[in-house]
Amino acid sequence: MADTVVDARGLQCPMPIIKLSQAITAVAPGQTVELISTDKGSCTDVPAWAADMGHPLKEQFEMDGEFHFVIERA
């Protein structure tokens, strides 16, 4: 279970990444944020953002048409 959950369902680019970046800065290093998005672009945007920022992407899966990403703050 992630430390924080960001519900970005229904929101379009760039809002899932914006909300994710705000949530990551609000948690302590080592803590995790789970992003739930319905924007298909998130599937490429979130891994790219996490890799560039150096935050490990711990999990990525699709469930009921929703995309889930668990990111740990570096």
């Binding site: 379009q12 994710l20 970046s21």
Partner: protein
Amino acid sequence: MTTPNLAPVEESTTPDARPQKEKMVLIAASGDLDKAWPVLILATTGAAYGMDVTVFFTFWGLAILKRPDAGISGDDWRQKLLSVFNRGAPTNLGLSKLNFAGLGPKMMRDLADKHRVASVQELLELAQQMGVKLWPCQMTMDLMGLSREDLIDGLADPAGAGAAIAEMKQASISLFV
């Protein structure tokens, strides 16, 4: 009662893991809705990447920064006429094609609402909250008869091409839109 404040003020932790912030510079030269949108989407996303983002608004791009109630501005009759026909503010921007006297942007905004795409107005406010620097171009403000009072609050001081080039020389991403 006063509380003794002996402990040193803790330095705020950097939001990202990098030692030095990369720079991104966007030149917003268009007042079209379909250009203002990507400018602000890229600006806010750049900020989400922990970048130091500056958007330089010049020529028609200044319309994005105009207050909705700016009214008639300038001293010259041509500037006054321009301010009437180029009302500006995010809510009055038109489309570069299929504008149909304002019907096109109305339909585009309705579609954006339906699909929950953040509006230009929302993205502009978000950019300001995220620390994106919004720079109006001094020369085009003078040319169009726009004063600082005709533009929204929270902008950086008006600047020129020299300042823009200085920023772009240090930036890893520079785009003219």
